[in-house]
């Protein structure tokens, strides 16, 4: 090959790299594991020190759900796994699968525009709020809590150049979302359904009205797996809906399975603010063929304040395809059933655990979905309780404070799992 190029050595190709910045030694890395067998042995040694929990009550943004085998089968297809940025012709299947994902999500969300997935739900929330800011030309953003502090950290960092974020979280001071007053300088009111603590706030519909009364946009973060039974945010007035599709057939993978969605009505003023790709269906020159391509690619903000339109990059497309497969397998009945099962189990868990001495469920009077707060009123802190649970083979919830932890149940839990947890708490939560 060198002869064909007319070069004496590979060194010639590096002529532009000055000697002063060359690394004049081999990289100091471990000896290579040259055979597949050695690599597998090495990795197996590492993986053997991981123990998936036998019984876990963790949620808080990453959820244990059953992943149907067909979702994995499709997600592992080498064509989908290794494709990237082909044209709508040679990658027709990729485009159709992603357009169908958008469409399936559209049915669930009752909205006409859904993006190709963005990185994760944190990014989706940050982007949705900037979209609202650009669409309204206003600075203030009201975030109605409780919101995951990690998510809030991302939102604040992301919208900082153009927006002031005011967080209203009544978890500790008795403030209620129903008390919210929205001023005319507000770009967006952001609230989650369910919120970080799993609660579906009864004030959601009235918040939409209050935001709209002053021309603010109502942005709702939601858990899409709840929507077979919980009303879509669009139905009670959300202008932009965002969230994470990890619950829809994506494995937890130590937090590596998250992927974000953003959805709006099909109004140009909102569509133009999407920084992400949107695929659309089009005819081809052959009757009866569907093609798919980028919609409204040169989206330009004509708002008076033209802030950064962010960037488009590699995000989380395959998770979108997999979520689409999941929704197709589940169908309308599957989504209703899974929603009902989780609602029922969440209510039962709060009731059952609150009956344990030294344990209460502060939100038991409200409707919660999957996540719920457990308060330990005995002598032990939430962290100490978790340590004792672990000794008994149970992974407790996410510790929120000395007294509180965020537990979670999904369709993979049975009533007996909750009873077992309650029985152990009877012993240790005094």
């Amino acid at each position: 090959m060198l002869a064909a190029i007319g070069a004496d050595s590979v060194e010639e190709f590096y002529a532009d790299i000055p000697d002063s910045i060359r690394l004049h030694r081999p990289l100091n890395l471990p000896d290579p594991l040259r055979s597949e067998a050695e690599l597998v042995r090495h990795m197996d040694r590492l993986l053997s020190r991981n123990k998936p929990a036998e019984l876990s009550f963790l949620g808080a943004g990453c959820y244990q759900h059953h992943v149907p085998a067909v979702v994995e089968e499709i997600g592992n297809r080498s064509e989908f796994l290794t494709a990237y940025a082909g044209e709508p012709y040679e990658d027709h299947g990729r485009f159709q699968a992603l357009w169908e994902y958008q469409s399936l999500m559209g049915e669930l969300l009752e909205l006409d525009v859904v993006n190709v997935p963005t990185y994760d739900g944190f990014q989706a929330a940050g982007t949705a709020l900037r979209m609202a800011g650009r669409a309204t030309g206003r600075r203030r953003v009201l975030v109605v809590g409780p919101v995951d502090p990690d998510k809030l950290s991302k939102i604040v960092d992301f919208v900082r150049p153009d927006h002031d974020v005011e967080v209203l979280d009544g978890t500790h001071d008795g403030w209620q979302a129903a008390d919210l007053v929205v001023g005319a300088d507000v770009a967006a009111v952001y609230i989650e359904a369910p919120n970080y603590h799993g609660v579906l706030d009864a004030a959601l519909p009235s918040l939409a009205e209050r935001a709209h009364a002053v021309g603010a946009l109502f942005v709702v973060g939601c858990n899409p797996i709840s929507l077979g039974v919980v009303a879509s945010p669009a139905s009670y007035g959300a202008d932009i809906v965002c969230g994470d599709i990890q619950p829809l057939g994506i494995r937890m993978s130590f937090g590596g399975g998250n992927a974000g969605f953003i959805a709006t009505r099909d109004e140009e003023r909102l569509v133009r603010e999407f920084p992400s790709r949107l695929f659309g269906v089009v005819p081809t020159v052959v009757e009866g063929e569907y093609g798919f391509g980028d919609v409204f690619y040169d989206r330009t903000s004509f708002a008076l304040r033209e802030e950064g339109k962010e960037w488009v990059g590699t995000a989380a497309a395959l998770n979108g395809i997999m979520a689409g497969v999941y929704l197709a397998l589940m169908g309308p009945r599957g989504m209703r059933e899974i929603g009902e099962t989780i609602l029922a189990l969440t209510a039962y868990a709060q009731e059952r655990l609150a009956a344990v001495p030294g344990v209460s469920a502060p939100n038991a009077g409200l409707v919660s979905f999957a996540d719920f707060v457990v308060r330990f009123t005995g002598s032990r802190t939430a962290a100490e309780i978790n340590a004792l649970l672990l000794e008994r083979g149970i992974q407790g919830g996410k510790v929120l404070s000395d007294s509180d932890a965020l537990f979670c149940v999904t369709e993979i839990h049975a009533r007996e799992d909750v009873d077992r947890l309650a029985a152990v708490l009877e012993e240790i939560a005094k």
């Binding site: 940025a85 709508p88 391509g293 690619y297 990059g313």
Partner: protein, 359 residues
Amino acid sequence: MRVGLVVNPVAGVGGRVGLKGSDGAEVQERAFALGAVPRAAGRATLALAELRARRPDSVVLTVAGAMGEEAARAAGFAPEVVFAPGEPTSAADTVAAARALAPQVDLLLFAGGDGTARDVLEAVGDTLPVLGIPTGVKMHSAVFAVNPRAAGEVAATFSRVREAEVVDRVEGSPQLFGYLRVPDVPARVQQRKTGSSSVTPDAVSGIAAELRSYLAPGELLVLGPGTTTRAVAAVWGVDVPVLGVNVVDGSTLVAADASADQLLELVAGAPARIALTPIGGQGFLLGRGNQQLAPEVLRAVGLDRLHVVATEAKVVALGGRPLLVDTGDDALDRAFPRYVRVVVGWRRTILYPVNERQS
């Protein structure tokens, strides 16, 4: 789709034989004496062949003989001849032919150079879309397709129209004569990579917002001529004449088509900034079509308060050629920085080289 065609049969004959342009019977005679071969007709044929390949249903209206009919027939069209020129043909024939064609066509193609573009501008102004088929000598106007085939393709596929400058050399120095409406083909929708970012939309709203952020309350903004500056004014709700130098204060028109004296008076009375856009294609910033921005005016405002604005597409189209300044005041030309920050969008600039007057 009805397309008009006017060919300037002698356009470009000077190029091959080292003459600048082909204006005037004397130059043409010398060129032919030196062995020049007319190329405009052949290039027009290429353009029309491309048009026919893409839009076989196109109807061509043109001028008898060498001014279009021959080229159209060579491309396979059976053209409708609507005008017969004199012999020998002249600029007056170009003007008259363009006038005759304009009411009957959706698009007027002309094969020629800057002189021909001027004739077409005089004949039709901004009444219909016009596109130049380049005939080979270096042209200053921005109304030409990049090559003859591209002219045919644009004619077949355009979906919107933009304004572009007509520039011609007068006594060796390029001057701005006005604007023609030329067809615009948006970037093809496909060939998008997942990793592509559309960093700067090709729009002036961001440029307008950025410019406005520089203006302190009460400051005047002097807008040079050009499509970008005019569009900036339009974003602010101000309509300004396209060829003049205009003054706004951020949202209202203070002076339209101002003279150098008016400008001096205005900038003496209030702090001011200047926004200029290079003339498309050639990159002239000062000294071509904006002489109202006299050296005294520029000094009074200060070069540090002079802002260059352009869409990113326009900067890229300069192909790396530097921006040019020729204020007529050598000391002032030399005082320009070697690089200026061209505002291409909200919070976005491209650092671009500036040269003094080109030889």
